[in-house]
Point group: C2
Chain length 200, copies 2
């Protein structure tokens, strides 16, 4: 098996951010690539009919503690942002436009966007912030601003979100490895075993 | 730190069963004991206001697949029972009565009850089944039948369930290690790091 690992995520998911800092290295250890696919988790949440995890009585309080502890467990720098959740529409569209220009740059932009939000607390739903993040990576600000609002890019984000749903995405991060779905940063050890053994 | 690890669970939770097959060995590696505390998860589920996981659209389908794969991952024999969920009132009361008589026997009974349900598909909500499980371990059937319905034992199960809630239990299995709460069989690696490092 040598297809890339599919990694579906919403930039505003804390567990997706934690996984984003680890999944490329994990895949590389096994000679695999990762296909990063930002999408809009709100669509999944609507389909499940569940409230946002952090708003669930008892579970929400536990989860905040778990997120912070998990960041320490994975040794990932993490600061819960003051504004949460935020819409991931703008950075996700920027990602897909960049991906069409330079897929390595798009990966770098995705990391920078996650960190801008989950380390520095910047509002990644704000177009100006997204343009700043990209410009710092040498991306032409005006080209990005124009490119990310074209009908093709808007449609691309919808299609990727629909694709994630069609693959059974039930939360973020969501991985598909050789057809097998894995939900959660806490499934990275199972993914590692899957890559090591060729499935179990 | 040498207090026992607190392990709260409902016998009808599949992830609690998986954890039950691993947590004692994990604790023993670090010179720690585990305090097993069966309780009634329905009370927690009511407080969270969430439906049963397996009934949630999309998430339910994923979770069934995840449970079966997780059993293979942990190398635990597992067969999803035809009747699910079942009430854990009867085996939980039996556990607490036995615990008052012989705590080692109570632990053996808890393992046998989990396996009767999650391997052999027996209906552990049925008093006759519970008495059979205990009798096979040398427990006096009549003494157990009488002991487990006393007001003291009924109250004990309520108190343990309330205690779990007071400690923030939001799902099963739920562990408390030196005051730190961990929810899920998938948090065993974090518990291991906690025991190794004395907290992180």
């Amino acid at each position: 098996m040598c297809e890339p690992i599919e990694f579906y995520f919403d930039f505003s998911s804390p567990y997706a951010y934690l996984a984003s800092e680890r999944v490329d290295d994990l895949a590389a250890k096994h000679g695999r690539k990762v296909k990063w696919r930002p999408m809009l988790l709100g669509v999944v949440i609507q389909k499940t009919g569940l409230p946002l995890l952090l708003n669930v009585p008892i579970k929400g309080e536990y989860s905040m503690r778990d997120i912070l502890r998990s960041a320490r467990y994975y040794d990932v720098t993490f600061n819960f942002p003051a504004k949460f959740p935020v819409s991931a529409v703008t950075p996700s569209r920027a990602y897909y436009w960049l991906h069409g220009q330079d897929c390595a740059k798009a990966r770098t932009f995705a990391h920078a966007t996650f960190r801008a939000y989950w380390v520095d607390g910047r509002d990644i739903s704000d177009m100006a912030v997204v343009l700043d993040i990209a410009a710092a990576l040498g991306v032409d600000r005006d080209a990005l601003a124009a490119g990310m609002v074209t009908p093709e890019i808007k449609e691309r984000l919808k299609v990727e979100t629909d694709t994630a749903l069609a693959k059974g995405m039930c939360g973020a991060p969501y991985f598909v490895v050789d057809g097998e779905p894995f939900w959660g940063a806490d499934r990275l050890p199972q993914i590692e075993k899957w890559l090591t053994t060729g499935g179990f």
